[in-house]
Symmetry: C2
């Protein structure tokens, strides 16, 4: 689809220069909102309002939602108050909130001024929920039914009010503002009789989240229970909104990106890669690089304190990178596996013992194979083939033993730290490769020099 | 919810021992399929068929789908042919395929023998599509409409046939088996008149995938266009099935797990962490550990070849871990950012120049800050405070310069390799931390010794 957008973009650019607006309009109305937004991203900012005005009202609003906040801001500044009001009238509350959250204060004021009073109130309410909570991603527009309605009444109500609701496929049965059941349109349509009451067809086994549930947990529950929409209730069990599957898609993508960024030692960013300036990238990368560089000082200190012994047996130095890297890789494997299992809701802190025991057994197998491989390689390549000075069987044994112990330590550290982080309320993803590597580096050197001192009598 | 399942589990265990089956049944019917599956996972295998028989037919089938393949296999072996037939009758084709794919041959034969002929045919067809393709995750049960039907007819057809369809909310308008439009139930219910024809309310701007589209691309398109279901067409544009949003959720979760595993140097696994034996973990981890260990030999060779010079200036050794780690971290940041952008469909190979230029500018900023910090730290801590032997301004300058050059090389290598991998048809995720680290280690040492030779006249 990316290629398709690009071709259309070129065509539209030519048509724009030739001022063939009706042709442009004919092309745009055949396109999807997401593709229109992609095309608009490539258009010069001053042409944006012109193009936007060509779109029919509903498509204009839908495309507006799909745009990046930079284009949205340009556009809002380029259109009149009444045009803005038309867009706001078409938006769902959760989309409006997403837009408002990214805009500077003066633009927000203009947006709120042009929203209907009811929507303004709802936007302000949603804005008060913590970032990344269910409350902040929910929409307040859903179909409400009461338990004593008949199936026929319910279908009539959907037909009358459904056009403004983000989803009509799951309807919510309320009694005194409390959620007592859900009804799918499927069950309404397939009900044996239109005269059945809602409480006889509703599902009263409810899956809900609260306004403060983390959005990642919301998405995970929707995925687990295959839900099109999940109801959001407040502290008193009153229904306040729903989160729909398309929001769950976005949350899953965003949370994955965020996890990967944190796991690679970066502070997470909202901007896409191509829209991030080098300075943006720098800002998100330098804190961890600097922190980890300073932490590596300890590793340096360990080497410094063994400098004399190393000088007596220089060939030991050549194995340091291999030992550090293998330790780091072993630790990362365990930490990433555990971080992912935590984020899928599969591991809890109480599983720590089970996890360590599993990792220890894995580490023994990995360590054994790697050690044998390593000793064989040192004896064959370094000793027999290259005749590297000072490399003998005891050196090979020292390196091999260090490797086995390092792998064991690395896997224990790697699986324990993410679980501890979670327990202490930190993001487990912080405990991925860069962090683990720094710790394991120091550990592996201590083990190496310890074993070398003992075996080689340094 | 996890905690909830555990408590119920204990209660059920007690009730099982006391043989209070009707109470167990009463509890189970209030639960969701996913939670029932979680409870069943903790039950002794020989009790499984007993518990399963307590469930009403539909809930039994839904819970069966949510179970892990081990429990499914145990269960199939423990129930009669006619019970198995009842389960198969309730399953959607795509769920049946998922189950069949994980079973040993003899169990597959029994499952197919107990499926209705039509379903058996469909299972066999889907099984022929490549793993992870749209064809392999789609279902063949969807609502078909024809363009000349009225809205009223369409609603009637849904009411009559909808019970066996995985989703009724998007219906597909076919003409000679070719897809010509989609109609949502929302647009049917909100249509001004029941007498309108389907072709007047259908959406003819179609978004489709083919049977061979990768499942990750399918999920990305559903997320991009906010689709409840996406139609799958064959090479001749004939409609063959749909992929629904709940499958997209699963695909997104699986693909993220797979990406993270590959990025941490593991071959991807289908099993969850707690169900993987230490030997499973070992099998998935040892190939990369061994490969990377052997690759680190080159790093060792570089150090060996500079051994004499290092012996003359032993203090240089202490900075090796810091240089290697910072280089590795810088490279990982770039590679992970680029890998994620590729997997979100944001970057194509033609963007390579743009990406390198962005990374170079970022690297210059990061390199500058890190170098200054590092030189200052060496002068203050190592030189003035610790009086480390041999550390002077030239040494600090050598390390600082190496750091800047290493960060630059690391970021260029880090952003280029994933894009090259993608271009060559490999998974870009392979080019993450472990791989980049090994390359950057060698690079950073070459730069270090090169600069040291020049500045310190070794």
């Amino acid at each position: 689809m990316a290629d398709h957008s690009v071709t259309v973009e070129n065509t539209l650019q030519t048509l724009l220069t030739e001022k063939k607006y009706s042709t442009i309009r004919d092309i745009l109305v055949t396109m999807n909102p997401a593709d229109i937004a992609a095309v608009f991203a490539g258009v010069e900012p001053d042409k944006l309002p012109l193009l936007f005005r060509l779109l029919p009202k509903e498509l204009a609003a839908e495309s507006f939602v799909e745009m990046e906040s930079e284009e949205q801001e340009t556009l809002i500044k380029g259109i009149s108050d009444s045009e803005l009001r038309q867009v706001m009238d078409e938006l769902y509350v959760d989309d409006a909130v997403d837009i408002v959250e990214e805009m500077p204060a003066n633009v927000v004021q203009r947006i709120l001024a042009q929203s209907a009073p009811e929507m303004r109130k709802e936007i302000n309410e949603i804005l008060q929920y913590p970032e990344n909570s269910a409350g902040s991603v929910m929409t307040t527009e859903y179909v409400k039914l009461s338990p004593d309605m008949t199936v026929g009444d319910a279908i009539l109500r959907i037909r009358r009010t459904g056009v403004d609701k983000e989803t009509i496929y799951t309807c919510y049965v309320l009694e005194n503002r409390k959620l007592i059941g859900t009804v799918s349109v499927k069950s309404l349509l397939l009900a044996p009789s239109d005269l059945q009451t809602i409480d006889s067809v509703m599902e009263s086994n409810l899956i809900t989240v609260t306004t403060h549930t983390d959005q990642e947990e919301v998405a995970r529950m929707m995925s687990k229970y295959n839900l099109l929409a999940i109801p959001v209730v407040d502290g008193d069990d009153r229904m306040v909104g729903i989160v729909t599957f398309d929001d769950a898609f976005d949350v899953m993508e965003d949370e994955t990106t965020e996890d990967m960024e944190i796991m690679a030692g970066m502070t997470p960013s909202d901007k896409t890669y191509l829209r991030s300036s080098p300075f943006d990238l720098f800002r998100h990368r330098i804190p961890w690089l600097a922190l980890l560089m300073v932490s590596a000082t300890f590793t340096g200190l360990i080497i410094s304190s063994f400098e004399e012994k190393l000088a007596a047996m220089v060939c030991l130095t050549a194995f340091i990178p291999m030992l550090m890297d293998t330790g780091g890789n072993s630790g990362s494997q365990s930490s990433v596996t555990v971080i992912r299992a935590i984020s899928l809701g599969e591991l809890e802190f109480r599983d720590l013992g089970k996890v360590i025991w599993k990792e220890v057994r894995t580490a023994v197998m990995c360590g054994l194979v790697l050690s044998v491989l390593c000793v064989a390689k040192i004896l064959l390549v370094d000793h027999l083939m290259l005749h590297t000075e000072g490399v003998n069987f005891t050196v090979a044994l020292t390196v091999g033993l260090t490797l086995a112990v390092t792998v064991l330590c690395a896997k224990i550290v790697g699986c324990t730290l993410p679980m501890l982080a979670k327990k202490l309320g930190f993001d487990p993803a912080v405990m991925a490769s860069p962090f683990i590597t720094t710790i394991v580096d120091a550990l592996s050197l201590l083990v190496y020099f310890g074993i070398a001192t003992a075996l080689l009598k340094l």
